[in-house]
């Protein structure tokens, strides 16, 4: 019925006076009061920065003087004349794909092994989680040392096996895989979350599947995976966002590998070797805070936001569809 009501502009005077019952009004105020801190936080820490970023992206802004409106200038520059943004975007895309896949699979694999352990579970779980507590800069410094081609323990061990370990952080082809190994080493947080989900799967389901003749692979496929899929989805989305924001490890590794840990205030070493560690957020930071092109950096941030949002939305949609298809099957 309501669909047939004509869309006429209602005169405010003619509008029937709606008297909201006092009880309802009080209830609404109570709800609003409870929501206020969250709403305020959202507006101050998300809404305002987001709108400000969008505004700045249409300006030339050097962080000190007033922004100057230049329309789509920053976006045009991004897609036409500025060469390093494409390099940085490619590096980040590489990390999004490889890092997301390996991080989730690695965390799942470790969690599956720990879930099957009969003894020493607490100790091994702690040992696997500990690297996640290491500060990223310190962990990166240690990793670059460990993977030093000449005197690093990794290559020394590989040499014992007759394998040439390669240049790792000093080789543009190996620097991103080396960074991925660093991230996998520190992925204990995700491992703990997946482990909790694995331990939450009802044992009765495994028993029923086993009675039906399902082997380990089919049990994993039809019992474990559907049960932990929401957690895996979280892991995937979390890893994508992590990769899109990849910053500290890239900037430290590039600096140390170039022979100078002193990258503060010094842009020359950032991205070394051959800009293979120049990620999108790193370049955004350099443009905004080193070159004072905050308008351009804001345009890069807007694009990053749109891409992150699109990535996440598509992924969530696809996985939900897959999940409901699984349930219907």
């Amino acid at each position: 019925m309501t669909a047939t009501v004509p869309r006429t502009r209602v005169n405010a005077a003619a509008r029937p006076a709606r008297k909201v019952p006092r009880r309802d009004r009080r209830r609404r105020l109570t709800v609003l009061a409870f929501m206020a801190p969250a709403v305020l936080g959202f507006v101050v820490f998300f809404g305002y920065p987001l709108l400000a970023t969008v505004y700045y992206s249409f300006t030339r802004y050097d962080l000190v003087n007033e922004p100057e409106w230049i329309g789509l200038g920053n976006y045009i520059r991004m897609f036409t004349s500025e060469p390093l943004v494409a390099v940085a975007a490619w590096n980040t895309l590489w990390l999004v794909v490889v890092l997301t896949l390996t991080r989730v699979l690695f965390a799942l694999g470790v969690a599956l092994v720990i879930a099957r352990l009969k003894s020493g579970v607490g100790l091994i779980r702690t040992l696997c989680y500990l690297p996640a507590l290491a500060p990223p800069a310190a962990a990166t410094l240690a990793f670059v040392f460990m993977f030093n081609p000449e005197f690093g323990p990794v290559n020394r061990f590989l040499r014992l096996l007759g394998i040439d370990g390669g240049l790792w952080f000093n080789d543009p082809a190996m620097s991103k895989p080396a960074l991925t190994l660093l991230v996998l080493w520190g992925s204990g947080e995700l491992m703990i979350i997946i482990l909790a989900a694995l331990l939450d799967v009802p044992v009765s389901q495994y028993e029923a599947a086993e009675l039906d003749g399902a082997g380990p692979i089919r049990r994993f496929r039809h019992v474990t995976l559907p049960s932990i899929s929401p957690v895996l989805l979280f892991g995937v989305v979390n890893s994508i966002i992590f990769a899109l924001q990849f910053f500290t490890q890239a900037i430290v590794a590039g600096g140390v590998a170039s022979g100078s840990a002193d990258v503060a205030g010094n842009t020359k070493y950032i991205g070394s070797p051959e800009n293979s560690t120049l990620t999108y957020p790193v370049w955004l930071y350099v443009q905004g805070f080193r070159y004072f092109n905050m308008g351009y950096a804001a345009a890069m941030a807007v694009l990053l936001f749109v891409v992150s949002f699109a990535f996440t939305a598509v992924l969530v949609h696809q996985l939900r569809r897959a999940s409901s298809a699984e349930e219907n099957a």
């Binding site: 309501t2 009501v5 003087n65 520059r77 081609p149 000093n170 205030g265 842009t267």
Partner: protein
């Protein structure tokens, strides 16, 4: 009816959101506008004024107390001024403090390349009114040093100390290789590099005569460039490296050295060398026999590797530019008053003392082993000069120094060229001129962002 009410609510919501957006955007604009500092110079403090001056610098460890002592010499003139010297403050933190409206009174930075960016956007106060008021004669500072501390005629920083990049060589290795003197040109440099290089039985490098990989330590395009007389910007203020015979000659020579060693072999060797500012520096450890470096390396060597017998000299120059011998790349530490400083009058008194006072500069020069930036301090008999430090003073006094141009793009041009050098030496840029054209495009694109350097 429900639809009508819903539509009305929607409209009301949209109006509120629009109003909020406009308010927020207005707030953004308002937040962006900084308070402009006045044009006139702030009055000098009275002798007994109680003032607390905050100074940001990046000095740490051995150098921090030397600089603190230099800063505190101001108390002789103003006994009640308290100096709060905060070390380990890099340029990013300084920018943040200016942006946040809570800057120090005085900023000291190692990275002169950032000066153009700070100067062009007004992050630093123009010192000209102070210089005019106090009738400061800037001619006591060498021309090259004056040029890297100003931007398009606007003097928004003073030089505190200068760095001159000369040539270091290991005397024991020279003797073992039958070499008696450091190279003066690129032909000799190549010859010396070959004779000083030692290989392991497996063919890997044990000692590199000269490590040509860029950017590594001070093996960087901007430090090589003066030895070829290669200039960054043309008369129109734009980059045109592709048309420069000097830049091409420089990179051709670098590739010749790279090819002598082999890129992969060099990459592996380089990866095993220690950090630039640690005692594991390759020159300290006898892993490289010759290198370009600043005069401050003499202090590092004295402290971290006192047993290394080394000599210093002017860097070798291009065969086609023999008259450049005796020249070098120069840069240095700068000192400025950030926009929004609370005590600019007292800050200027401190800056004058740190950049022009002979006693202070001699003390700093002796403590930091940096070159004092005035001619009076340079020639002061109290300046401790040993045989390895002297060549730097001679170069500084010789009138052939070349600094980087001060541009509004910070060190973006340096990154572009050093990035190119990495690709070039790896053989991933087969066409030198085409590669340099891409570098030019990148630098000019950055310059265009500043409205041609407004």
């Amino acid at each position: 009816m429900r639809t009508t009410i819903t539509a009305w609510r929607l409209r009301r919501g949209m109006t509120l959101v629009s109003a909020a957006s406009v308010l927020l955007l207005t707030a953004c604009s308002a937040a962006a506008g900084g308070s402009g500092d006045g044009d006139g110079p702030a009055a000098a403090p009275n002798k007994d004024d109680k003032i607390s001056l905050v100074v940001y610098s990046k000095f740490t460890n051995r150098e921090y107390p030397v600089v603190s002592a230099g800063l505190n010499r101001l108390k002789a003139k103003f006994p009640n001024i308290e100096i709060k010297h905060e070390g380990s403050q890099d340029d990013d933190k300084l920018t943040q403090s200016i942006r946040g409206g809570n800057p120090p009174d005085v900023a000291i930075s190692f990275f002169t390349d950032n000066l153009g960016a700070w100067c062009s956007n007004g992050s630093f106060v123009d010192l000209k009114p102070y210089i005019d008021r106090d009738k400061v004669d800037l001619n006591v500072i060498p021309e090259a040093v004056r040029s890297y501390t100003e931007f398009r005629g606007k003097r928004c920083a003073m030089p505190m100390l200068a760095d001159v990049y000369g040539f270091f060589y290991n005397k024991d290795m020279f003797a073992a290789a039958g070499l008696s003197a450091p190279p003066k040109n690129t032909t000799e440099l190549f010859d010396h590099a070959k004779r000083l290089t030692q290989l392991n039985p497996d063919g890997s490098i044990r000692v590199a005569g000269f490590l040509p990989t860029m950017p590594f330590y001070n093996n960087q395009a901007q430090i090589w460039a003066p030895n070829w007389d290669a200039r960054w910007l043309g008369p129109d203020g734009k980059s045109n490296l592709a048309a420069s015979a000097e830049w091409k000659e420089m990179f051709t020579f670098q590739k010749k050295l790279i090819d002598f060693y082999g890129h992969d072999r060099l990459a592996k060797f380089k990866a095993g060398l220690g950090d630039e500012y640690s005692e594991d520096h390759a020159f300290h450890r006898g892993k490289i026999a010759m290198m370009f470096d600043g005069e401050y390396r003499t202090a590092f060597l004295k402290e971290q590797a006192p047993n290394v017998k080394y000599g210093t000299a002017s860097p070798p120059v291009s065969d086609s530019k023999p008259n450049r011998y005796g020249g070098a790349f120069t840069t240095g530490t700068i000192i400025a008053i950030p926009k929004g400083a609370k005590n600019p009058g007292a800050a200027w008194e401190l800056i004058k003392q740190m950049s022009l006072d002979t006693d202070t500069l001699v003390e700093l020069g002796n403590g930091l082993k940096n070159v004092p930036s005035t001619m009076a301090a340079l020639r002061d008999p109290r300046l401790e000069v040993d045989e390895n430090y002297r060549p730097f003073l001679t170069m500084f006094d010789g009138g052939k120094l070349l600094p980087n141009p001060t541009t509004p793009i910070g060190d973006a041009h340096l990154k572009a060229v050093n990035d190119f050098a990495e690709r070039w030496q790896a053989g991933r840029e087969p066409d030198l001129e085409a590669g340099l054209r891409k570098v030019d495009a990148q630098i000019n694109d950055e310059l265009a962002q500043k409205g041609g350097g407004r």
